[in-house]
Symmetry: C2
Subunit: 392 residues, 2 copies
DNA sequence: GTCTTTTTGATAGACCGTCTAACTAAAGAC
DNA sequence: GTCTTTAGTTAGACGGTCTATCAAAAAGAC
């Protein structure tokens, strides 16, 4: 049965619109919010009044434009309205960020993780408590968002992490019980794509793909103005797209997967095979910049293979933008020419012509900020997702 | 600026829900429609009253369930409410279908096409006039939907058809001026996917991919309950996904595209290269069934290559269902084993495990019925109130 | 300094939705 | 004939957005 659509649903939708407009434009006036959202000024007034009453928005001493007419009163998301928590959960490290409801970062915490998923969840719980304590004096936690390098289903169960040995854990339920706050949890790359959309380089882009490298290689699809999760929640597994038939064996049991060539560990392994023992991707990139022909050739191959996979995405999904994040941004400038050559060879010209290719500006906080994005969306559309319906 | 959301928008949404529920369940009662759509019975009553007043719905002599209580009054989409026209426009043949607003087929027309896009458009215009004249006595045409084997942008301009030499033609505007009815026009495979969703095998599926072979190979993506068009409208170009590095040259200028191996002409060409001169795909399939090892090996390769491309789609989009249509359904049973082997080798296990693979039941009318689907959706969600539309 | 102009923001009232609750209608059950 | 049950209608409550109007507050004209 589909959710009911009534006046309350409309209001909720318009509250979300105004909230995001104000988040993107701090110190905006009511009149400006009306222009930004397309809402009537009477409606805007009603919505803003509600947000003020709810304590989510407050009047500020914004800089006044010295203009003719009655001066506007500046508004902003109230820092006292509560906290959001975002986290990246990985076996080696757990990274936690707390922000205001507007997404302004308050605290960073980084702690060691655990290869045991249960222990890792406990550590995350402790870390969040610590980060929240450091952030506010009695501020309520409005939502916790977590990104995990694993196949996550739509109910927040960890289904499988091929490289980590994690499987079948109802981690969302577990954390929600422990934390006593709403928990939103998803694949780390999907979370990062959301961060790119809300805080990064894709704010006005309705259709983009996000590619990231870390232990593996992940893809996040933002299609038609929504994060696309797929039937089971597993969409975007670009790391396991075959780029070399019968190629290198992968942790997933197949062969020739993209991530057996372009993940950090894969690049280091290939470098070692060619007689270059390097500690990390930074060293690899440095060697390439120093003119080491073997390493340059290797990164050329990396770019080419990434380009093949991206070409598939371009041909299939016709995105307006492709974002390279995670480790991929470290070496991006070195392999970009090869990647572009691969695009020219494999992507259909009219689709490639208007494709923009950018490096993520979010750095190592992309995934935790993705958690913030998930929590923010979850908090705002908590009761009922009308947006979905109205987009059809 | 986003579209305004007000009470009228809610009503429009609920009208659409009720309409589709009634289309899928002819002779349903108001009470049943309320249960199907989740709407309150008062709301259902209001919506049905409006639809009756507008003449879109009529009371029928449906079979009455002999049950306790007041008997229901059966409803149905009124055949007198108008016509929809669907068409497939190709250089060789133009196929036209007319239906009621409910999608019940009234007339089929098939006429020769033209390799000149302008001439083809004129022929389509004439053919539609003929089909409409044969269908109804003064029934208004509520919408015309057309599927074309070309890259179509979101405004209904034909951008490029690599194989046909067609490019840059504002065909939607042209037809709309000529026909005097709203025209909805899209890539043929996208249209066929819509047909599959409204009339075919995907009625309850929110996430599926549609693969079809004709002159080329096309893909239609239905993601998250919507037809996905991509940033420019070009999404789904699976025919130009590279499946063989440096493989056979393609009309698009690249090499190794899927459609250079699995389109009908490509299969015939490959058969000829191997000493089997066969007239069409039916003959190829027959030869394979008769045990011709060369042809069997060829179709195995076809299945394998299709499987590689489908694996990319599965890994990237995690669909619940993949539909094979067009020519692909002719030989499907022969190459299906090879296709499944390719899926096992290239698609991630948790994504493949729950994937259903089916052959389209719509046959050669898939694209024209897709036109019907486009026209129906267009008519229902036209920005104007339905009443206004009916006055045209 | 005063008046006019301009813009912001609030508010009343029209209008249009859905939903609750009460009602009427029409059949079978007894 | 009366009761029970289900279908469908309708009045009224409630809550949205939108139009129109008004008060407030500043700059500019004089």
């Amino acid at each position: 049965m589909s959710p009911r659509v009534n006046s309350a649903a409309i209001r909720r939708l318009n509250v979300i619109r105004v909230f995001h407009a104000l988040r993107e434009n701090p110190n905006a006036s009511q009149a400006e919010l009306g222009r930004l959202t397309g809402l009537d000024k009477a409606t805007t007034s009603a919505v803003v009044t509600q947000l003020l009453d709810d304590g989510l928005v407050e009047r500020t001493e914004g800089p006044r434009a010295r203009r003719i007419g009655r001066p506007e009163t500046a508004l902003a998301i109230a820092p006292s309205a509560g906290l959001l928590v975002g986290a990246r959960l990985e076996p080696r490290t757990i990274r936690i960020v707390t922000t205001t409801l507007a997404g302004t970062v308050l605290e960073h915490v980084q702690i060691p993780g655990s290869t045991d998923i249960g222990t890792a969840a406990d550590l995350l719980h402790e870390g969040i408590d610590r980060a929240v304590a450091a952030s506010g004096e009695g501020l309520p936690v409005r939502g916790v968002g977590v990104g995990i390098p694993a196949l996550m289903d739509r109910e927040g169960r960890l289904v499988l992490a091929p490289n980590l040995g994690w499987r079948d854990t109802p981690i969302r339920a577990r954390l929600e019980a422990a934390l006593g706050a709403p928990v939103y949890i998803d694949n780390d790359t999907k979370a990062a794509a959301m961060a790119e959309r809300l805080f990064g380089v894709c704010r006005d882009v309705e259709d983009f793909v996000y590619l990231t490298g870390h232990s593996g290689v992940g893809g996040g699809l933002f299609l038609g103005g929504r994060l696309y999760r797929g039937a089971q929640g597993f969409a975007g597994e670009v790391g396991h797209v075959t780029v070399v038939p019968d190629g290198r064996p992968c942790g997933c049991g197949k062969r020739g997967c993209l991530e057996t060539y372009v993940s950090e560990s894969a690049i280091l392994a290939q470098a070692a095979e060619r007689g270059r023992d390097l500690p990390d991707l930074g060293a690899v990139t440095a060697a390439a910049r120093d003119g080491d022909a073997v390493v340059i050739a290797l990164l050329d191959e990396v770019g080419e293979r990434l380009g093949i996979a991206l070409s598939h995405m371009v041909n299939l999904m016709n995105p307006a933008l492709a974002v390279l994040g995670g480790n991929l941004s470290v070496a991006a400038d070195v392999f970009l020419p090869a990647l572009n050559r691969a695009l020219e060879r494999h992507a259909l010209e009219p689709l490639r012509r208007d494709l923009r290719l950018v490096v993520s500006p979010l750095g190592p906080d992309a995934v935790p900020m993705g958690g913030i994005a998930l929590a923010m969306e979850g908090f705002l559309s908590a009761p009922m997702p009308v947006e979905e319906l109205l987009r059809r």
